[in-house]
Protein backbone atom coordinates (compact mmCIF):
# COMPACT_ATOMS: atom_id res chain seq x y z
CA UNK A 1 0.00 0.00 0.00
CA UNK A 2 1.20 3.52 -0.70
CA UNK A 3 0.67 5.91 2.18
CA UNK A 4 0.99 9.65 1.89
CA UNK A 5 2.54 11.28 4.96
CA UNK A 6 2.54 15.05 4.91
CA UNK A 7 2.99 17.77 3.76
CA UNK A 8 0.56 18.72 6.55
CA UNK A 9 1.54 16.30 9.24
CA UNK A 10 2.64 17.40 12.71
CA UNK A 11 5.63 15.12 12.93
CA UNK A 12 7.20 16.10 9.62
CA UNK A 13 8.34 19.41 11.15
CA UNK A 14 7.14 21.58 8.33
CA UNK A 15 6.06 20.71 4.84
CA UNK A 16 7.88 17.49 4.17
CA UNK A 17 5.91 14.94 2.20
CA UNK A 18 6.85 11.31 2.39
CA UNK A 19 5.49 8.66 0.09
CA UNK A 20 5.60 5.47 2.08
CA UNK A 21 5.23 2.08 0.49
CA UNK A 22 4.13 -0.15 3.34
CA UNK A 23 3.49 -3.81 3.79
CA UNK A 24 1.27 -4.07 6.84
CA UNK A 25 3.15 -2.00 9.38
CA UNK A 26 6.54 -2.45 7.74
CA UNK A 27 8.00 0.25 5.57
CA UNK A 28 9.23 -1.09 2.24
CA UNK A 29 10.28 2.12 0.58
CA UNK A 30 10.35 5.84 1.37
CA UNK A 31 10.27 8.57 -1.23
CA UNK A 32 10.72 12.05 0.26
CA UNK A 33 9.03 14.80 -1.76
CA UNK A 34 10.34 18.28 -1.05
CA UNK A 35 10.09 21.74 -2.55
CA UNK A 36 6.92 23.02 -0.94
CA UNK A 37 8.80 25.85 0.72
CA UNK A 38 11.00 26.78 -2.23
CA UNK A 39 11.24 30.56 -2.42
CA UNK A 40 14.19 30.97 -4.75
CA UNK A 41 16.47 32.62 -2.21
CA UNK A 42 19.56 31.83 -4.29
CA UNK A 43 18.08 33.68 -7.24
CA UNK A 44 17.01 36.61 -5.07
CA UNK A 45 20.56 36.94 -3.70
CA UNK A 46 21.88 37.62 -7.18
CA UNK A 47 19.74 40.75 -7.41
CA UNK A 48 20.83 42.23 -4.06
CA UNK A 49 23.91 44.02 -2.80
CA UNK A 50 26.22 41.94 -0.66
CA UNK A 51 25.01 43.53 2.58
CA UNK A 52 21.36 43.07 1.60
CA UNK A 53 21.75 39.31 1.46
CA UNK A 54 22.25 39.01 5.23
CA UNK A 55 18.51 39.21 6.08
CA UNK A 56 17.79 36.54 3.47
CA UNK A 57 20.17 34.14 5.16
CA UNK A 58 18.08 34.26 8.35
CA UNK A 59 15.13 32.95 6.49
CA UNK A 60 16.84 29.86 5.19
CA UNK A 61 17.06 28.17 8.52
CA UNK A 62 14.77 29.97 10.90
CA UNK A 63 15.96 27.98 13.90
CA UNK A 64 19.58 29.06 13.63
CA UNK A 65 19.62 32.51 12.01
CA UNK A 66 22.96 33.53 13.55
CA UNK A 67 24.74 30.49 12.14
CA UNK A 68 23.57 31.37 8.65
CA UNK A 69 24.48 35.03 9.14
CA UNK A 70 27.93 33.97 10.27
CA UNK A 71 28.52 31.58 7.41
CA UNK A 72 27.56 34.14 4.81
CA UNK A 73 29.54 37.02 6.26
CA UNK A 74 32.57 34.78 6.70
CA UNK A 75 32.38 33.85 3.03
CA UNK A 76 32.16 37.48 1.91
CA UNK A 77 34.92 38.51 4.31
CA UNK A 78 37.11 35.82 2.84
CA UNK A 79 36.38 37.16 -0.63
CA UNK A 80 37.28 40.66 0.52
CA UNK A 81 40.27 39.57 2.59
CA UNK A 82 38.98 41.40 5.66
CA UNK A 83 40.46 41.07 9.12
CA UNK A 84 37.80 40.90 11.83
CA UNK A 85 38.60 42.34 15.29
CA UNK A 86 38.75 39.78 18.12
CA UNK A 87 35.79 41.17 20.04
CA UNK A 88 33.49 40.73 17.05
CA UNK A 89 34.75 37.19 16.55
CA UNK A 90 34.12 36.28 20.18
CA UNK A 91 30.68 37.82 20.15
CA UNK A 92 29.91 35.80 17.04
CA UNK A 93 31.01 32.62 18.79
CA UNK A 94 28.93 33.50 21.85
CA UNK A 95 25.80 34.17 19.81
CA UNK A 96 26.36 31.11 17.65
CA UNK A 97 26.49 28.84 20.64
CA UNK A 98 23.31 30.41 22.03
CA UNK A 99 21.77 29.75 18.63
CA UNK A 100 22.87 26.14 18.80
CA UNK A 101 21.23 25.78 22.21
CA UNK A 102 18.09 27.46 20.88
CA UNK A 103 17.93 25.12 17.90
CA UNK A 104 18.66 22.00 19.93
CA UNK A 105 15.95 22.96 22.43
CA UNK A 106 13.37 23.18 19.68
CA UNK A 107 14.60 19.88 18.32
CA UNK A 108 14.51 18.16 21.71
CA UNK A 109 11.04 19.46 22.54
CA UNK A 110 9.44 18.56 19.23
CA UNK A 111 11.29 15.27 18.89
CA UNK A 112 10.19 14.15 22.33
CA UNK A 113 6.63 15.26 21.62
CA UNK A 114 6.59 13.26 18.38
CA UNK A 115 7.41 10.15 20.35
CA UNK A 116 4.88 10.99 23.05
CA UNK A 117 6.75 12.77 25.85
CA UNK A 118 4.76 15.96 26.15
CA UNK A 119 6.39 17.51 29.22
CA UNK A 120 9.81 18.00 27.69
CA UNK A 121 8.39 20.29 25.06
CA UNK A 122 7.15 22.75 27.67
CA UNK A 123 10.42 22.67 29.59
CA UNK A 124 12.53 23.22 26.47
CA UNK A 125 10.46 26.13 25.25
CA UNK A 126 10.76 27.78 28.64
CA UNK A 127 14.54 28.06 28.22
CA UNK A 128 14.26 28.80 24.53
CA UNK A 129 12.08 31.78 25.34
CA UNK A 130 14.87 33.22 27.46
CA UNK A 131 17.34 32.85 24.57
CA UNK A 132 14.91 34.54 22.19
CA UNK A 133 14.57 37.41 24.65
CA UNK A 134 18.33 37.75 24.72
CA UNK A 135 18.35 37.81 20.92
CA UNK A 136 15.72 40.49 20.99
CA UNK A 137 17.81 42.45 23.44
CA UNK A 138 20.92 42.30 21.30
CA UNK A 139 19.45 42.56 17.79
CA UNK A 140 15.90 43.83 18.23
CA UNK A 141 14.46 40.65 16.76
CA UNK A 142 13.55 37.33 18.29
CA UNK A 143 14.06 35.07 15.32
CA UNK A 144 15.19 36.88 12.17
CA UNK A 145 18.12 38.52 13.87
CA UNK A 146 20.27 39.72 10.92
CA UNK A 147 22.76 40.88 13.50
CA UNK A 148 26.05 40.15 11.80
CA UNK A 149 27.45 42.44 9.16
CA UNK A 150 30.16 41.99 6.61
CA UNK A 151 33.15 43.25 8.59
CA UNK A 152 31.83 42.76 12.10
CA UNK A 153 28.53 43.00 13.90
CA UNK A 154 25.80 45.60 13.69
CA UNK A 155 25.83 47.19 17.14
CA UNK A 156 27.53 47.01 20.51
CA UNK A 157 25.48 44.66 22.73
CA UNK A 158 23.30 46.69 25.13
CA UNK A 159 24.08 47.18 28.80
CA UNK A 160 23.11 44.22 30.88
CA UNK A 161 23.30 41.76 28.00
CA UNK A 162 26.38 39.96 29.27
CA UNK A 163 24.96 39.73 32.79
CA UNK A 164 21.83 38.18 31.41
CA UNK A 165 23.81 35.64 29.40
CA UNK A 166 25.96 34.84 32.44
CA UNK A 167 22.84 34.33 34.49
CA UNK A 168 21.45 31.98 31.85
CA UNK A 169 24.74 30.08 31.58
CA UNK A 170 24.63 29.66 35.35
CA UNK A 171 21.31 27.88 35.59
CA UNK A 172 21.09 26.19 32.19
CA UNK A 173 23.09 23.00 33.03
CA UNK A 174 20.53 22.28 35.75
CA UNK A 175 17.79 22.50 33.17
CA UNK A 176 19.59 20.03 30.93
CA UNK A 177 19.63 17.67 33.92
CA UNK A 178 15.87 18.16 34.09
CA UNK A 179 15.40 17.13 30.44
CA UNK A 180 17.72 14.21 30.89
CA UNK A 181 15.87 13.05 34.00
CA UNK A 182 12.74 12.86 31.92
CA UNK A 183 14.26 11.06 28.95
CA UNK A 184 17.71 9.49 29.17
CA UNK A 185 16.93 6.79 31.70
CA UNK A 186 13.27 6.52 30.80
CA UNK A 187 12.54 2.93 29.65
CA UNK A 188 9.77 4.03 27.25
CA UNK A 189 12.09 6.56 25.63
CA UNK A 190 14.75 3.85 25.39
CA UNK A 191 12.36 1.44 23.69
CA UNK A 192 11.33 4.03 21.15
CA UNK A 193 14.87 5.16 20.34
CA UNK A 194 17.48 2.46 21.04
CA UNK A 195 18.31 0.33 18.03
CA UNK A 196 15.85 2.32 15.93
CA UNK A 197 16.71 3.81 12.54
CA UNK A 198 20.36 2.82 12.65
CA UNK A 199 22.84 3.94 10.04
CA UNK A 200 26.47 2.89 9.79
CA UNK A 201 29.38 5.32 9.62
CA UNK A 202 30.19 4.34 6.01
CA UNK A 203 26.60 4.85 4.89
CA UNK A 204 26.37 8.17 6.70
CA UNK A 205 29.51 9.44 4.96
CA UNK A 206 28.44 8.14 1.56
CA UNK A 207 25.03 9.81 1.92
CA UNK A 208 26.58 13.13 2.87
CA UNK A 209 25.18 13.23 6.39
CA UNK A 210 26.88 15.68 8.72
CA UNK A 211 26.61 17.10 12.20
CA UNK A 212 25.05 15.01 14.98
CA UNK A 213 23.66 12.60 12.37
CA UNK A 214 27.25 11.75 11.40
CA UNK A 215 28.68 11.87 14.91
CA UNK A 216 25.91 9.62 16.19
CA UNK A 217 27.35 6.97 13.87
CA UNK A 218 30.82 7.20 15.35
CA UNK A 219 32.54 9.64 12.99
CA UNK A 220 34.50 12.10 15.11
CA UNK A 221 34.28 15.22 12.96
CA UNK A 222 33.20 18.71 13.93
CA UNK A 223 34.04 21.71 11.78
CA UNK A 224 34.38 23.95 14.82
CA UNK A 225 37.29 21.86 16.08
CA UNK A 226 38.70 20.36 12.89
CA UNK A 227 38.50 23.31 10.50
CA UNK A 228 38.07 26.23 12.90
CA UNK A 229 36.60 29.58 11.90
CA UNK A 230 35.88 32.79 13.81
CA UNK A 231 38.55 31.86 16.44
CA UNK A 232 36.89 28.65 17.59
CA UNK A 233 40.42 27.29 17.95
CA UNK A 234 40.78 29.39 21.09
CA UNK A 235 37.97 27.59 22.90
CA UNK A 236 38.17 24.30 24.74
CA UNK A 237 35.32 21.92 24.15
CA UNK A 238 34.69 18.24 23.59
CA UNK A 239 32.97 16.84 20.53
CA UNK A 240 30.42 14.26 21.67
CA UNK A 241 30.47 11.11 19.57
CA UNK A 242 28.30 8.02 19.91
CA UNK A 243 28.93 4.71 18.22
CA UNK A 244 25.50 3.10 17.87
CA UNK A 245 24.14 5.17 14.98
CA UNK A 246 20.56 4.94 16.21
CA UNK A 247 18.03 7.57 17.30
CA UNK A 248 19.25 7.37 20.88
CA UNK A 249 22.87 7.97 19.82
CA UNK A 250 21.90 11.11 17.94
CA UNK A 251 19.85 12.20 20.93
CA UNK A 252 22.82 11.73 23.27
CA UNK A 253 25.14 13.64 20.92
CA UNK A 254 22.85 16.65 20.88
CA UNK A 255 22.17 16.65 24.60
CA UNK A 256 25.90 16.51 25.32
CA UNK A 257 26.40 19.29 22.77
CA UNK A 258 24.02 21.44 24.81
CA UNK A 259 26.39 21.14 27.76
CA UNK A 260 29.46 21.83 25.61
CA UNK A 261 27.82 24.87 24.06
CA UNK A 262 27.05 26.41 27.40
CA UNK A 263 30.66 25.86 28.39
CA UNK A 264 31.79 27.70 25.24
CA UNK A 265 29.36 30.51 26.09
CA UNK A 266 30.94 30.78 29.53
CA UNK A 267 34.46 30.85 28.06
CA UNK A 268 33.42 33.53 25.61
CA UNK A 269 32.00 35.63 28.44
CA UNK A 270 35.08 35.24 30.61
CA UNK A 271 37.60 35.94 27.88
CA UNK A 272 35.69 38.58 25.92
CA UNK A 273 38.41 40.88 24.51
CA UNK A 274 38.08 44.62 24.47
CA UNK A 275 38.20 46.65 21.30
CA UNK A 276 36.19 47.54 18.23
CA UNK A 277 33.35 45.38 16.91
CA UNK A 278 33.83 46.38 13.28
CA UNK A 279 36.74 45.95 10.93
CA UNK A 280 38.70 48.99 9.86
CA UNK A 281 37.44 49.08 6.28
CA UNK A 282 35.53 52.32 5.63
CA UNK A 283 34.53 51.23 2.11
CA UNK A 284 32.78 48.12 3.40
CA UNK A 285 31.68 48.78 6.96
CA UNK A 286 29.09 51.47 7.68
CA UNK A 287 30.50 54.34 9.78
CA UNK A 288 29.25 55.08 13.29
CA UNK A 289 26.16 57.21 13.53
CA UNK A 290 28.02 59.88 15.50
CA UNK A 291 30.86 60.13 13.00
CA UNK A 292 28.37 60.61 10.19
CA UNK A 293 27.06 63.74 11.82
CA UNK A 294 30.49 65.29 12.25
CA UNK A 295 32.73 63.98 9.49
CA UNK A 296 32.24 64.61 5.79
CA UNK A 297 34.13 61.48 4.77
CA UNK A 298 32.03 59.19 6.93
CA UNK A 299 28.89 60.63 5.39
CA UNK A 300 30.21 60.05 1.87
CA UNK A 301 31.13 56.44 2.63
CA UNK A 302 27.76 55.85 4.21
CA UNK A 303 25.98 57.25 1.17
CA UNK A 304 28.08 55.20 -1.21
CA UNK A 305 27.69 51.92 0.66
CA UNK A 306 23.92 52.33 0.91
CA UNK A 307 23.32 53.41 -2.67
CA UNK A 308 26.01 51.52 -4.57
CA UNK A 309 27.04 48.73 -2.24
CA UNK A 310 30.67 47.73 -2.13
CA UNK A 311 32.57 45.97 -4.88
CA UNK A 312 34.04 42.61 -4.01
CA UNK A 313 37.14 41.40 -5.88
CA UNK A 314 36.35 38.65 -8.37
CA UNK A 315 36.75 35.12 -7.12
CA UNK A 316 34.95 32.36 -5.36
CA UNK A 317 34.93 30.87 -1.88
CA UNK A 318 33.27 28.01 -0.10
CA UNK A 319 32.84 28.62 3.59
CA UNK A 320 31.39 25.96 5.84
CA UNK A 321 30.37 26.24 9.46
CA UNK A 322 29.04 23.69 11.91
CA UNK A 323 25.37 24.53 12.16
CA UNK A 324 23.22 22.71 14.75
CA UNK A 325 22.27 20.34 11.95
CA UNK A 326 25.63 19.77 10.32
CA UNK A 327 27.76 21.30 7.64
CA UNK A 328 26.21 24.56 6.50
CA UNK A 329 28.16 25.85 3.53
CA UNK A 330 28.01 29.02 1.49
CA UNK A 331 29.53 29.07 -1.96
CA UNK A 332 29.79 32.69 -3.08
CA UNK A 333 31.02 33.69 -6.52
CA UNK A 334 31.93 37.29 -7.20
CA UNK A 335 32.45 38.86 -10.61
CA UNK A 336 33.94 42.03 -9.16
CA UNK A 337 30.68 44.01 -8.85
CA UNK A 338 28.63 44.99 -5.80
CA UNK A 339 26.17 42.13 -6.22
CA UNK A 340 27.06 38.48 -5.79
CA UNK A 341 27.20 36.62 -9.09
CA UNK A 342 26.06 33.43 -7.44
CA UNK A 343 25.27 32.42 -3.88
CA UNK A 344 24.70 28.77 -3.18
CA UNK A 345 23.82 27.33 0.19
CA UNK A 346 24.85 23.83 1.02
CA UNK A 347 22.04 22.77 3.30
CA UNK A 348 22.96 20.18 5.91
CA UNK A 349 19.36 18.99 6.09
CA UNK A 350 19.10 18.26 2.38
CA UNK A 351 21.92 15.75 2.67
CA UNK A 352 20.71 14.41 6.02
CA UNK A 353 17.28 13.81 4.55
CA UNK A 354 18.84 11.50 1.96
CA UNK A 355 19.86 9.25 4.83
CA UNK A 356 16.23 8.87 5.96
CA UNK A 357 15.25 6.07 3.53
CA UNK A 358 18.38 4.16 4.49
CA UNK A 359 17.46 4.47 8.17
CA UNK A 360 13.82 3.47 7.90
CA UNK A 361 13.38 0.99 5.09
CA UNK A 362 12.48 -2.43 6.43
CA UNK A 363 11.41 -1.02 9.78
CA UNK A 364 8.12 -0.17 11.41
CA UNK A 365 6.00 2.79 10.37
CA UNK A 366 6.09 4.26 13.89
CA UNK A 367 9.88 4.41 13.70
CA UNK A 368 9.71 6.78 10.74
CA UNK A 369 8.42 9.47 13.08
CA UNK A 370 11.30 8.87 15.49
CA UNK A 371 13.81 8.92 12.61
CA UNK A 372 12.52 12.20 11.15
CA UNK A 373 12.82 13.79 14.55
CA UNK A 374 16.30 12.45 15.06
CA UNK A 375 17.78 14.01 11.92
CA UNK A 376 16.34 17.38 12.98
CA UNK A 377 15.12 18.65 9.65
CA UNK A 378 14.22 22.24 8.89
CA UNK A 379 12.34 22.51 5.65
CA UNK A 380 13.24 26.13 5.12
CA UNK A 381 16.82 25.06 4.72
CA UNK A 382 16.05 22.09 2.50
CA UNK A 383 13.88 24.00 0.05
CA UNK A 384 15.48 27.44 0.27
Amino acid sequence: MILNMGPQHPSTHGVLRLLLEIDGENVVRIMPDIGFLHTGIEKTCEAKFYQQVVPLTDRIDYLCPMTNNLCYVLAVEKLLGLEIPPKAQWLRVLLNELTRINSHLVWLGTHAMDIGAMTVFLYCFREREEILRMFEMVSGQRMMTSYFRVGGIALEPPLGFFDRVRDFAGYFPEKVDEYENLLTGNPIWGMRTKGVATISADDAIALGASGPTLRGSGVDFDLRRDMPYSSYEKFQFKVPVAQEGDVFARYMCRVLELRQSISIVRQALDGMPEGPIKANAPKVVLPDREKMKTEMEALIYHFKIITEGFAVPAGEVYQAVESPRGEMGYYVVSDGTAKPYRVHMRAACLANLQALPKMCEGRLLADVVAAIGSIDIVLGEIDR
Partner: protein, 165 residues
Protein backbone atom coordinates in the same frame (compact mmCIF):
# COMPACT_ATOMS: atom_id res chain seq x y z
CA UNK B 1 44.90 39.74 5.75
CA UNK B 2 45.53 41.29 2.36
CA UNK B 3 44.53 39.31 -0.69
CA UNK B 4 47.30 37.51 -2.52
CA UNK B 5 46.88 36.97 -6.25
CA UNK B 6 45.58 33.59 -7.34
CA UNK B 7 48.14 30.99 -8.42
CA UNK B 8 47.08 29.43 -11.70
CA UNK B 9 50.37 27.93 -12.82
CA UNK B 10 49.92 24.15 -12.88
CA UNK B 11 53.68 23.56 -12.45
CA UNK B 12 53.82 25.30 -9.09
CA UNK B 13 50.64 23.62 -7.82
CA UNK B 14 51.92 20.10 -8.36
CA UNK B 15 52.79 19.85 -4.68
CA UNK B 16 49.11 19.71 -3.70
CA UNK B 17 48.19 16.07 -3.07
CA UNK B 18 44.95 16.16 -5.08
CA UNK B 19 46.62 17.73 -8.12
CA UNK B 20 49.59 15.38 -7.86
CA UNK B 21 47.32 12.35 -7.61
CA UNK B 22 45.20 13.35 -10.59
CA UNK B 23 48.26 14.15 -12.72
CA UNK B 24 49.84 10.83 -11.79
CA UNK B 25 46.66 9.09 -12.85
CA UNK B 26 46.10 10.85 -16.16
CA UNK B 27 47.69 14.14 -17.19
CA UNK B 28 45.00 14.82 -19.81
CA UNK B 29 42.29 15.01 -17.14
CA UNK B 30 43.56 18.13 -15.39
CA UNK B 31 42.83 21.11 -17.63
CA UNK B 32 43.75 23.84 -15.22
CA UNK B 33 44.24 24.46 -11.52
CA UNK B 34 43.84 27.52 -9.36
CA UNK B 35 44.85 28.27 -5.79
CA UNK B 36 43.01 31.32 -4.53
CA UNK B 37 42.14 32.54 -1.00
CA UNK B 38 43.43 29.32 0.47
CA UNK B 39 41.18 27.16 -1.68
CA UNK B 40 42.18 24.73 -4.39
CA UNK B 41 40.19 24.49 -7.60
CA UNK B 42 40.90 21.87 -10.25
CA UNK B 43 39.26 21.95 -13.67
CA UNK B 44 38.55 18.44 -14.88
CA UNK B 45 37.97 17.28 -18.42
CA UNK B 46 34.22 16.79 -18.72
CA UNK B 47 34.17 13.09 -19.58
CA UNK B 48 36.34 12.01 -16.66
CA UNK B 49 34.73 13.59 -13.62
CA UNK B 50 33.35 10.34 -12.23
CA UNK B 51 36.66 8.51 -12.54
CA UNK B 52 38.55 11.51 -11.15
CA UNK B 53 36.32 11.53 -8.07
CA UNK B 54 36.76 7.79 -7.69
CA UNK B 55 40.55 8.21 -7.84
CA UNK B 56 40.49 10.96 -5.21
CA UNK B 57 38.17 8.99 -2.95
CA UNK B 58 40.16 5.76 -3.09
CA UNK B 59 43.63 7.29 -2.82
CA UNK B 60 45.11 6.53 0.63
CA UNK B 61 46.89 9.90 0.82
CA UNK B 62 44.11 12.23 -0.38
CA UNK B 63 41.10 10.31 0.97
CA UNK B 64 38.46 12.76 -0.20
CA UNK B 65 35.73 10.55 1.19
CA UNK B 66 32.91 13.08 1.61
CA UNK B 67 30.96 14.92 -1.06
CA UNK B 68 30.00 18.23 0.48
CA UNK B 69 28.18 19.84 -2.34
CA UNK B 70 27.37 19.89 -6.03
CA UNK B 71 26.22 23.08 -7.66
CA UNK B 72 26.45 25.03 -10.87
CA UNK B 73 27.36 28.51 -12.04
CA UNK B 74 25.91 29.98 -15.21
CA UNK B 75 28.33 32.26 -17.09
CA UNK B 76 25.79 33.32 -19.73
CA UNK B 77 26.48 34.54 -22.44
CA UNK B 78 30.06 33.22 -22.31
CA UNK B 79 30.97 29.79 -23.62
CA UNK B 80 31.45 27.23 -22.13
CA UNK B 81 28.41 28.44 -20.32
CA UNK B 82 28.01 26.16 -17.30
CA UNK B 83 30.47 25.29 -14.59
CA UNK B 84 29.48 22.34 -12.46
CA UNK B 85 31.16 22.75 -9.09
CA UNK B 86 31.93 19.83 -6.78
CA UNK B 87 33.17 20.38 -3.25
CA UNK B 88 34.96 17.39 -1.81
CA UNK B 89 36.00 17.05 1.79
CA UNK B 90 38.51 14.71 3.32
CA UNK B 91 37.32 13.90 6.83
CA UNK B 92 40.60 12.19 7.88
CA UNK B 93 42.84 14.97 6.47
CA UNK B 94 40.46 17.86 7.22
CA UNK B 95 40.97 19.30 3.79
CA UNK B 96 38.76 20.48 0.95
CA UNK B 97 39.16 20.59 -2.79
CA UNK B 98 36.90 22.02 -5.47
CA UNK B 99 36.50 20.25 -8.80
CA UNK B 100 34.97 21.97 -11.77
CA UNK B 101 33.64 20.79 -15.08
CA UNK B 102 32.84 23.20 -17.89
CA UNK B 103 29.87 22.52 -20.16
CA UNK B 104 28.63 24.16 -23.32
CA UNK B 105 25.15 25.62 -23.54
CA UNK B 106 23.92 23.15 -26.15
CA UNK B 107 22.29 20.27 -24.24
CA UNK B 108 24.61 20.37 -21.22
CA UNK B 109 25.19 16.96 -19.70
CA UNK B 110 27.76 15.33 -17.46
CA UNK B 111 28.20 11.95 -15.88
CA UNK B 112 26.42 11.46 -12.57
CA UNK B 113 28.37 10.92 -9.36
CA UNK B 114 25.62 8.90 -7.70
CA UNK B 115 27.58 5.67 -8.18
CA UNK B 116 30.54 7.16 -6.28
CA UNK B 117 28.60 8.95 -3.56
CA UNK B 118 24.84 8.38 -3.17
CA UNK B 119 24.86 11.87 -1.62
CA UNK B 120 25.09 13.31 -5.14
CA UNK B 121 21.49 12.26 -5.78
CA UNK B 122 19.64 15.32 -4.40
CA UNK B 123 22.40 17.78 -5.25
CA UNK B 124 22.37 16.74 -8.90
CA UNK B 125 18.60 16.76 -9.05
CA UNK B 126 18.70 20.30 -7.75
CA UNK B 127 21.17 21.37 -10.44
CA UNK B 128 19.02 19.66 -13.07
CA UNK B 129 15.93 21.36 -11.72
CA UNK B 130 17.33 24.89 -11.53
CA UNK B 131 19.89 24.90 -14.36
CA UNK B 132 18.70 22.22 -16.75
CA UNK B 133 21.96 20.31 -16.77
CA UNK B 134 21.47 16.59 -17.32
CA UNK B 135 23.36 13.98 -15.31
CA UNK B 136 23.84 10.76 -17.24
CA UNK B 137 23.38 7.65 -15.15
CA UNK B 138 21.36 9.38 -12.44
CA UNK B 139 18.76 6.97 -11.03
CA UNK B 140 15.90 9.46 -10.69
CA UNK B 141 16.57 12.68 -12.56
CA UNK B 142 13.40 14.70 -11.98
CA UNK B 143 12.57 18.14 -10.69
CA UNK B 144 13.08 18.36 -6.94
CA UNK B 145 12.27 21.90 -5.79
CA UNK B 146 10.12 23.30 -8.59
CA UNK B 147 6.76 21.79 -9.59
CA UNK B 148 6.91 18.92 -12.07
CA UNK B 149 5.31 20.95 -14.87
CA UNK B 150 7.46 24.08 -14.46
CA UNK B 151 8.84 25.59 -17.63
CA UNK B 152 12.36 26.95 -17.76
CA UNK B 153 15.27 26.77 -15.36
CA UNK B 154 15.07 29.51 -12.73
CA UNK B 155 18.72 29.89 -11.77
CA UNK B 156 19.91 30.45 -15.33
CA UNK B 157 21.05 34.00 -15.88
CA UNK B 158 18.65 34.57 -18.77
CA UNK B 159 15.70 33.74 -16.53
CA UNK B 160 14.22 36.91 -14.99
CA UNK B 161 14.22 37.26 -11.21
CA UNK B 162 10.46 37.84 -11.16
CA UNK B 163 9.87 34.88 -13.46
CA UNK B 164 8.03 34.97 -16.78
CA UNK B 165 4.67 36.68 -16.61
Amino acid sequence: MALTPAVTDLESLKGHPAVARLLAWNTAVVQQAKFDRGEMTIFIERGSIREACLVLREDPVCEFNFLSDVTCVDWYPAEPRFEIVYHLLSIPNKERVRLKVRLNSASPAVESLTSVWPAANYFEREVFDLFGVRFNGHPYLRRILMPEDWEGYPLRKDYPVEGYR
